[in-house]
Symmetry: C2
């Protein structure tokens, strides 16, 4: 939550947040069932503490409706299907609606063929990858996702130009007693948003976050802002982001490189965003119950390792977010007041009477 101050907090009931968000997106022109998908997606991200992908995105999504970039009533459809594969045209609908449709298809195909690969084109920003790989894991499957970012912010190793996104990718692994293993990561060291905040607050940035526009390492946030974000793990992160782009976008001729439409700066333009979903039905290879037990044992083994001095707990992928989610469902979601007030302004504009409440 580095992007917000918590000077004044508002605790909101998650069901109220879902009802509010659904009403907001219905008022903005979406069908009720589609608006409910968007609402669940955004509020779940906030429950998990991933505020960057929560209701604070109302501003950009609603603006894209207003400016014509995204079609609130777009319909996704399967245009090609073969064995365990499908190609889906997102119909320029909200990405969360297309993403859920596509993962449901991927799960159906993997049930039939043991494994699946569903390639999506003509989509929009779809929220978090975690949401979709969780769906796969809930179905007793291993889920994978490969995406391309809606904005070029990274240079290839040795380059200085913004040629690539920090294309996120994700994995979901079913468990029994432990929360689902979810590894959902962008390929940059940090989100560009953190550099924006440092610039706004006149703070330096740590070495290793960004390069200036000439490709030199910088700790000056403004120079980093006008330069490029660094990939995680050096050249390996650059290779990963390039591969993710091939899988997500180049495979089905979605936007890549020069044809990428910036999510924030070009709200009137169609994004043609692509992504790839894969499922493996554990039962096709092993027995899901045995697998769940072994993954739980693997988690216990890792968490039971000797800790470094000062470390209270060793976490496994997705555990911190799952803990946040459990807490938010019991105690409510803690929002910075700025986010709540911004959402209320949209509600007023759109004539929505609901408000975010405890």
């Amino acid at each position: 939550m580095a992007d917000y101050t918590f000077k004044e907090k508002v605790v909101v009931d998650p069901s109220d947040a879902r009802a509010f968000e659904k009403a907001l997106y219905v008022a903005a022109g979406m069908r009720k069932e589609d608006a409910a998908i968007v609402a669940d997606h955004l509020v779940k991200a906030d429950e998990r503490g991933v505020y960057s992908h929560g209701i604070q995105r109302n501003s950009i999504y609603l603006n894209r409706f207003k400016k014509g970039g995204t079609d609130p009533r777009g319909v996704s459809r399967v245009v090609k299907e073969f064995g365990g594969t499908a190609l889906i045209d997102g119909g320029n609908a909200m990405g969360m609606v297309t993403g859920k449709f596509a993962m449901e298809k991927a799960i159906e195909l993997a049930r039939k063929c043991g494994t699946s690969a569903v390639s999506v084109t003509s989509s929009n920003h779809f929220g978090t990858c975690a949401y979709y790989v969780q769906m796969a894991a809930d179905a007793g499957m291993i889920g994978m996702m490969w995406t391309i970012n809606c904005g070029n912010i990274m240079a290839p190793t040795g380059g200085v130009e913004r040629q690539l996104g920090n294309n996120p990718f994700a994995f979901g692994i079913p468990t029994r007693k432990h929360p689902t293993i979810i590894f959902d990561a962008a390929t940059s060291v940090v989100a560009r948003g953190k550099i924006v905040v440092a610039m706004k607050t006149h703070s330096p940035i740590p070495e290793g976050w960004a390069l200036d526009k000439d490709g030199n390492p910088t700790t000056d946030a403004e120079k980093g802002y006008w330069g490029t974000v660094l990939p995680f793990g050096g050249y390996k992160g650059y290779c990963q982001t390039f591969v993710n782009a091939m899988l997500a976008a180049v495979l089905n001729n979605s936007a890549f490189g020069p044809t990428i439409i910036d999510l924030y700066e070009e709200p009137e333009k169609i994004q043609n965003n692509g992504f790839l979903l894969q499922c493996i039905d554990v039962n096709a290879i092993d027995d899901i119950e045995g697998f769940r037990t072994r993954v739980d044992e693997a988690i216990d083994y890792i968490k039971g390792g000797k800790k470094a001095s000062g470390v209270e707990e060793i976490y496994v992928p997705g555990e911190i977010e799952a803990n946040n989610e459990a807490k938010a469902r019991k105690e409510g979601i803690t929002y910075p007041i700025e986010i709540v007030e911004e959402s209320h302004r949209f509600a007023e504009e759109l004539g929505v009477e609901l408000r975010l409440t405890k």
Copy 2:
């Protein structure tokens, strides 16, 4: 080639190297056709400049035959098949033989179902991932591979014990005019071998390579040797290595964590090594010729970007290795004399008359 000195070089004809290696493994008990697979795998790694996975591994592989850890005449077989998935029992054969068998199955299944997932158990160290994802790309498919390392050398983030391997993973993407895109990476910042060399030469190691046994950052190679190697990209690399282990080993009950057999230190023990191969037949989703063109265009776009000062060329994943391979095929493979002499000692022991020559 950080692990070897090049004080005295020997240039070897790649066909001679293949013939020599095949004879060596036949003399060690392998069937001719299987020995040819191992020979091609190891020599190709050397051609690509990946000497760590080339014929310098003769010592460990032949030792495992001698001590009984690996069965030179092991036979791999499909034990379960459903749709695009298969479970393969490697039969404790040489990993390169099992790996090739498994990737051929994965390609066959993806041709039938558009995509495939082939899970392998009871295998041994299989060389480089690059070899297999290249096979997929040669078949007009996207190849992926997830593996577990034969040795625990990494701590989870926050831990200090060697609980995880630097489990490599790889992707292969078909191209037309450019070499196949191959991203084949371990999840540690550097191979542990580099720390061993630094220790032997009493050199310091850069910060960020390793932690001491108490989990503190260290530049002392010996302390790093007795400690743990660091994951690439911090906690993201740890998450990736954990996920890779779930996909490669825990999925089919191969060795993981406490049951890992160290490749080097336990040559008499059966490894029960696991891995996972995936293919996507590009034709199932798009048209392979269109895809090849777009990947080539993507490569041209990246390579055409503005370079940082002092950078002569921007490379794409696998390009440097492909350049090495083209050069070695024309001019021969340049080996350090130590590697050649070691291989010749094995030849003498096994009564092989061939020698590595130019």
